[in-house]
Amino acid sequence: MKGRGVIQKKICMLGGFAVGKTSLVKRFVTAQFSEKYHTTIGVKIDQKSLCVDDTEVHLVLWDMYGEDDFQKVRASYLRGSSGYLLVIDGTRKETLDVARQLRLLASQSMGAVPYVLMINKHDLRESWKVTPEMYKDLASNACLVLQSSAKTGEGVELAFLELAKQMLKI
């Protein structure tokens, strides 16, 4: 059990189907649970410890199943989150719309909590179809917008760290 000075925070990974949420989590943590949870109950939970300004933060990551026509993100899973990572696939413009819907759902379920907008798959930069203009509405309220790659690890640590910092400020 944690001692004094340890803060736990629940955060969610939100984004469309196959935007790379699970890969980002994998980059960030050593996964404990099977991927099967995604398809069965629609969420897989992992945990990662961070240190923010001498405060130990335990992030409990709720990695949601990518929303598509077949499976919707359950609002109940978002309840109690202190923040979230909104992930867009840079190579697919349609993931922007999904992100917008999820952002709406998140604000309804969680209230005004910080989020980090991640334009993922930066390793495929040449195939990107998404431009900053397209997601400027999503970026306006985000505490951080960054281009990331689960493949190279670019932006991953930073995204989680920044989100943790923002969550602690509240």
């Binding site: 059990m1 939970i45 945990q47 109690g80």
Partner: protein
Amino acid sequence: MASGQGAKNNSMAGSQQPSSSSPRFSVKESKGFSHLRQLLLAPEQHELDRLKTRLDQFSLHPKDVGRVLPDAIRLRAQQDTRLLASLIPVTQEALALSIKQSPQLISDSIAPILGSAIRKAIAHAMRGLMQSLNQTLECSMSWRGLQWRWEAFRTGKSFAEVVLLHTLRFRVEQVFLIHKKTGLLLNHVVAEGVSGQGEEVISGMLTAIQDFVCDSFGQSQDEGLESIRIGDLTVWIEQGWGAILAGVIRGAPPMELREVFQETLETIHAQFSELLQAFQGDASSFQETRLQLEDCLQAQFEQKSRGLPWAFWIVLGLLMLGLGMWAFQAHADQQRWAYLLERLDQEPGLVMTSIQEEGTPTIYGLRDPLAINPDQILSDIGYSSQQVVFRLKPFMDLTPEFVQKRAMIQLRPPSSVVGNLEGTTLILKGEAPHSWIQQAHLLGPLLPGVTHIETRQLVDTDLKQFETLKAELESKTITFEVGNSDISLDQRSTIRDIDQTIQALDQTATILGIFPRIQIQGFTSPDGGKEVNQSLSALRAKAVLNELANGSFQAINLRTVGVGSDRLPALSSTGKAVSQERRVAFRVILPPPASVPKSRR
């Protein structure tokens, strides 16, 4: 007041001047100058003196130190741990001194917390010790224990683990206190020997599963999952408005445990209601729920209905068996002894007069020499001759059985004779030689318990032999030629047979003590004259006597008689029959019976 103080201060200043002030003032100082200086600079001088005095005495002023000490300690402690290090020995010594000087005070101060802590610690340790001791005792050397050791060896598990799995009814292995809204872990306790891992993630997954189930079946969050079962593990979940209590239980928990969980959750809600509402991820405040959660870590092991360890039952069983065997043996011994006494009592020819049962049992009494050997009875019943001692004096038993038995032994009859006592008469049956019958008649009245010997049913073999020989002799004839009294050659062998028969008769008659007479009767055919035939028949009888007279007979007396013809002349006869008429025949004549044996006596 002010002038007074000034004068005092002045004098103080003056007295210190040789050491602290410049010497040139003291040299050149005059009374007027000093007065002028006092007039011009008195207030400043006074202030200077006051400050100087205070500066000199500052470090020693407890009031000032007391004012700054708490802040000073706090600030210094924040800086580093040196102050703490410095205080440790002082505090230790102070504490030691305090305990030494007023132990009661310290004792009173810590008693409320220490007593409870000690009781809890001891109870916990004793519980663990008893449990471990019981299990070790029960499992170490029993057959089941050996099986479990084999299982532990086979599966690679520790013996303790195998014992636990087999003897456990239920055990709460982990208890999670989960914040309901966020699914974050508030506190988590595990039972001894159980390793908790990833409890924060498990907490999240439990919440997610609950959410999933509630969403899927349209239930409200307050009616979430109550129980999850995975193999031998059960997760019981209690819902509260702010927190969830989840207990991971191995085995089959009783329903009472639910109540424990519910009460614990209610208590936590009552105590931490504000903290639960305001929870932002800092679970440190919920550390205080540890004791309450640990109360949920209950376990129940197999109730041993037998209550006592198997070794006790084995010893008790052996004792009971021993006691049973002893009782059985004692009973059997008693029965055997009673049977022995009964048997001895019923045995003919044995009379018990007294019994001494102390030490080696000794039986005193009388024994007829013809009675059974008492050692034989002992052997039949299973005693050795050393176990029971007989002190028996000989006596004569006059019961009919013994009288008969004794009589038959003393008479030494041939095997063909049986005796039967009726009253005082010994009735003998069978066959016996004449001499033995005679002896029996003589000895009979002398036998104890016998007055008469009855031999009417006893066959005298010698007399029987005599009768047989007599009949044989009387059936034989010697035939003669017509008108002739000479014994022809072909009749010689018949003469020899007759001679041997008469010899045998003589021997038998000697044994019987009788003196029979054998009449040798001569016969003729009717042919011829009567006188001639009379004379011829007498010649023929004498001729035979002469042949037989060669043998000497002890008891038999031979006589001849000429009968003549014993057939009437009118009767005709065949030739063969006529030749048979010219013969000599024999007739054995016994003397009157009464006189025969008596004459021999």
